[in-house]
Subunit: 286 residues, 2 copies
């Protein structure tokens, strides 16, 4: 099995690692606009050799794990070059514009639109880890647009990797993911910003920070190269979630100002049911 | 050594566990307004026996780990009952009102105002864990108001438990802790609320949540009984931090609306330095 991974970072690299374990005969070909990343991936044994455009023609699987703005731009060119038996899988955190970019492409049936919901706040080939995707949800969009045999090939891989599959429309994906992923990242970045701004004047502040702060601010370590185009592509949904979040914070603040601590208690008590909800979420240990 | 722990939950229970390990001859006496908690703590072996008011007279150390509103109310009564050699240590997340409540107490010198910055989102005796405090910061306020010999006794315990000590004034403590702890909790509670409100209509949403969401929303599992009085006692500082946080979120939203994605990139890039800052924070593993 010949697998080409375009974009050898945390996501693509972790795919490569799992594939090498699961398919002993697989050869992994890597492509990255950053040469040093590609060399690093080869040194780390994540990738067997460098791929060029011709490698795409006879690849069984192509995994495209690059920032979503580049994805929208490059996906049609990648599809141009693949063979009839190649399935191209993306891992973009948005789905509407990506599906739209190839909607009328003559090789649309070679593409399977995916969003494996897994990751850490780290990036680059050295961040790739084994079994990142085990037990995680993989959202597949417009499955009916992909050739049946190629769906099957991809699903076999996902199943071996231990992913849970959910099928959604691109619009619904982008709307929901804004709540459970994009908003978390913004709340974390802005929390980090608020505290850093304070720290300019108050040097001791971080000595007082505990694991609670560390946990809420973890996502503020994430890569701006990856996240800027996500927010851009999902602009309207992100603005809507932010609006609701700000409104909730405003009303919490007003309750404190009005000394309505019974209201404050109830707000927190009602939100405690997140415990039960979170029990269903598989955690990344690292 | 006779130790009385008033309030046998996560905080008091974890103190008790460490003390039993570090001082083989120590006997732990427990007091809790919740009888079933006290029985549970005895069954779990965290506490040796139930304490009554008379137990306070000849205690070496009294640890008071109860919600901060009850603390302000009960601390003078506790001090009334302790002996000359007893050091009373609190673990409240606010310090100004607590120090004020005993400022003119005839036994003020028996009290050491502390805030060990450690915890998890769980509560009750079963949440108590070994070495919760190892490597964590313990803020001590108004140390000069405590009798020298009693300071020494408490510091020996903290040192054995592996805590890092920082000395601060109560006002400075309350101001800074609003940023690195209280704000994190509110941002997390409101994130949980925003997503739960959405989920009423969209049942699938939580299937899409990954470890990023889990991490930012973890603190929304925290106890409203503990946190309501903290926000009440630290009302002004909390409102100020919330104001700044909301302002930062508003300006991020406006940048997205204005398609200023260079600005968005810079915001995230500048906040990435939280990585270096967080490297100094000891983590709770559990």
């Amino acid at each position: 099995m010949k697998v080409v991974v375009i974009g050898i970072g945390l996501i693509g690299g972790s795919f490569a690692k799992d594939i090498k374990k699961l398919y002993s005969e697989a050869s992994i070909w890597g492509m990255d606009k950053n040469d040093s990343h590609l060399d690093e991936a080869i040194n780390l044994g994540i990738v067997d050799q460098k791929a060029d455009n011709e490698s795409l023609t006879n690849a069984d699987i192509v995994i495209v794990s690059i920032p979503v703005d580049v994805l929208v731009q490059e996906l049609p060119n990648i599809l141009d070059k693949v063979g009839d038996e190649t399935v191209v899988i993306d891992a973009g955190s948005t789905k509407r514009l990506i599906c739209q970019a190839v909607a009328n492409h003559p090789k649309r049936r070679n593409f399977l639109a995916c969003h494996p919901i897994a990751g850490t706040e780290f990036s680059g080939p050295s961040a790739a880890i084994n079994r990142l995707y085990e037990g995680k949800t993989n959202i597949i969009c417009e499955v009916e647009e992909t050739a049946f045999k190629l769906q099957e090939k991809a699903l076999e891989l996902f199943q071996k990797m231990g992913m849970r599959i959910r099928y959604m429309k691109p619009d619904a994906h982008d709307k929901h993911i804004a709540y459970v992923s994009h908003l978390s990242h913004i709340s974390s970045f802005m929390l980090g910003k608020t505290v850093i701004e304070k720290e300019k004047n108050e040097r001791d502040i971080f000595d007082m920070a505990g694991s609670g702060f560390e946990s809420t601010v973890r996502l503020a370590k994430s890569s701006p190269d990856m996240w800027t185009p996500i927010f851009e592509q999902n602009r309207e949904n992100v603005v809507e979630t932010l609006q609701e979040y700000i409104q909730n914070l405003e009303s919490f603040k007003k309750m404190i100002e009005a000394n309505d601590f019974e209201g404050i208690y109830n707000e927190m008590n009602n939100t405690n049911k997140i415990k039960q909800i979170l029990n269903g979420i598989p955690l990344t240990k690292n």
